[in-house]
């Protein structure tokens, strides 16, 4: 691997982990779309700051844009507080309006600034390493790596410092308020982090794909675990895997790296959605199939128990007539009998079914329930 390849992958991993960590809390707090709103709404902030600084990675630009992000959150909440519209509509109104202002600003003054619309929306991590940090003439590596590294450390510090508060405010906001933990403060702290992270990341991946980095790994991890701590660690790992596999996918087909990372995010989420134990699609389908047969088997043993030892028992336990008594399709009835025989709930004597001890116990237990 060439040096610049390692640098790009390292940057991608740092961006992915920095996005995934606050993303965990957004996913759990049902506020994922706030990141979508913030990433679009910071555009006017970026444009105005760019007019002043003429650089896409100056700290002032990041601060101004992050400020716009927090303003967006405040604005959405103010709109919601009028009770004239719901949260989703408030988000859906605010960010397109702010974004429109940004687009109009750019196209009005397009001749005067070198701010490319595509760069803001799509980003390109492959170019991010071209902008290098030089200290006393020494080449210290790409600026983006340092910017995102700082943001990653900030995010980690915030989460580690306020882990307890974040956890409580996420899972039981009213208890947090009652205990004096100031969930509003935590909320705005988190939103500031999301804003800063989004601004830092848009240089590399752009404002649309940053949502994939924020929502994808945590949602994938959410399918795997029930513990917040594990979900944070898993999200970081999944984010890194997405970043590296996305880089190589892009390398292989010579396509957009950010797009490939998003594609891997979708693939890995889809794969998890299919195969994860207990919560995956396959597990759900298998559980439903098993429940169907178990229910039918229970019906069968109850039916046999009902008529056991009575005069009509012989007619009722005739295999060939079972489907009439239980109103099943004949083929289904045969399959159920086979299933029950396999489980040793019934035994077959010529054309008759009789309950085994196990079957009788099962029928009694079901009836008691």
């Amino acid at each position: 691997m060439a040096m610049h390849q390692i640098e790009i992958q390292l940057t991608a991993i740092v961006v992915a982990v920095a996005c995934a960590l606050p993303g965990v809390f957004l996913v759990l707090r049902r506020m994922t779309l706030m990141s979508d709103a913030i990433s679009h709404a910071i555009l006017p902030g970026i444009v105005l700051a760019f007019f002043l600084t003429e650089s896409l990675s100056s700290p002032l630009l990041i601060l101004a844009a992050a400020g716009t992000g927090v303003l967006t959150v405040v604005f959405v909440e103010l709109l919601q507080q009028t009770k004239l519209l719901k949260e989703d509509a408030a988000i859906g109104l605010t960010f397109p309006a702010l974004f429109s202002i940004g687009v109009i600003l750019i196209s009005r003054f397009a001749g005067n600034v070198h701010l490319d619309m595509d760069a803001v929306l799509l980003g390109e991590i492959a170019y991010a390493h071209l902008n290098r940090l030089e200290v006393f003439g020494y080449n210290m590596g790409p600026v983006a790596l340092y910017v995102m590294g700082t943001i990653l450390v900030l995010n980690l510090a915030f989460i580690l410092l306020f882990y307890k508060e974040l956890k409580l405010a996420t899972f039981d906001a009213s208890l947090a308020a009652a205990l004096g933990f100031a969930p509003t403060l935590i909320h705005y702290g988190l939103m500031t982090l999301v804003s800063v992270t989004t601004v830092g990341a848009f240089d590399a991946v752009g404002s649309i794909l940053v949502v994939a980095l924020i929502a994808g790994p945590p949602a994938t991890a959410y399918l795997m675990t029930d513990s917040l701590g594990r979900m944070l660690i898993l999200s970081a790992i999944i984010g890194s895997v997405n970043a590296i596999s996305g880089y190589w996918l892009a390398y292989l087909f010579d396509v957009s790296i950010a797009g490939a990372i998003a594609t891997m995010t979708l693939l890995i989420f889809g794969l998890t959605f299919l195969v994860v134990p207990e919560r995956g699609l396959i597990a759900i389908a298998r559980r439903r199939a098993r429940q169907k047969w178990e229910f039918a088997q229970k019906m069968l043993v109850i039916h046999l128990l009902n008529h056991e030892g009575l005069p009509e028992a012989e007619a009722e336990s005739e295999i060939a007539h079972l489907h009439e008594h239980l109103r099943w399709e004949p083929t289904f009835a045969t399959q159920v009998v086979k299933y029950a025989l396999n489980n040793r709930c019934v035994s077959q004597k010529e054309t008759q079914l009789t309950l085994t001890e196990q079957g009788r116990a099962m029928a009694r237990q079901v009836l008691v329930q």
Partner: protein, 313 residues
Amino acid sequence: MILNILTHFDYTLMIVSIGAALLGTVSGALGTYAVLRRQSLLGDAISHAALPGIAIAFLLTGSKTPLILVLGAAIAGWLGALLILSVVKLTRIKYDSALGIVLSTFFGFGLVLHTLIQRTGNANQAGLDTFLFGQAATILERDVLTMGILGGIALIIMLVFWKELKLLVFDEGFAASIGFPIRALDILLTGLLVIAIVLGLQAVGAVLMSAMLVAPAVAARQWTDKLNMMVLLAACFGALAGVSGTIISSSASRIPTGPTIVLCATVIVGFSIAFAPNRGLVWHRVRQQRHRRSLKVATDRLLKQQRQGGDAL
């Protein structure tokens, strides 16, 4: 001023205005349902998810015919919406996360395909900028015709299923219990939204399309409590935003049409939230003042009576 606008009203502008008005009407009417179901951002997801569809349609057919690209966009957007619905239904992942994932990753996949097309050096590629921000100026007469026909079909379907959709919006549980096929209706409504969105891609682009669904409906909601009035008003507001945005952006140089239309719609929302009778903020304030004053008059009178009563004693 008016003369100025009239002289600006040349043929191209007229075609673009009619297109924008059609788009506003259709998306305003259909957006009403999305807003009432608290799915305002579904449109955002669908419009972003449409990108890979356009790229695949182009890769498969090699043609840039709008109708083929629109079909690809519609299929991809619809698949994205269905994926959201099934993830929410089958897992514990909430609506917002499912939406965010589909929106961004479908778009990312579309970006990958787009760079693939670019790399093959096919100069005939559909521009990504056009997809993102629309290009209202390129709307031709035949596009307006397509928009009219497709939008008309969507509105007619909406009217045919009026009762069912109304029940779906306001009481899904009840609708299910009396035997309406909820899932099918959900898919139908999503399909209608998809039509409205792909119609708008050319005019306002993917990023801002969601505003065209949300803003007119939110504005209309402030003026009425009835669904039929809300749909009608939203359609009118949408058309108004479309036409006024087109005219404003054509009256000065370098003001893109899509964002201007969105800002016009936002202004309509702001006006409605402030001044709509009964619900509006200004009216709310006036009513509060009036209550406060009448309360003051009443307490004053009470105090006076008490004082007089006290004197009498």
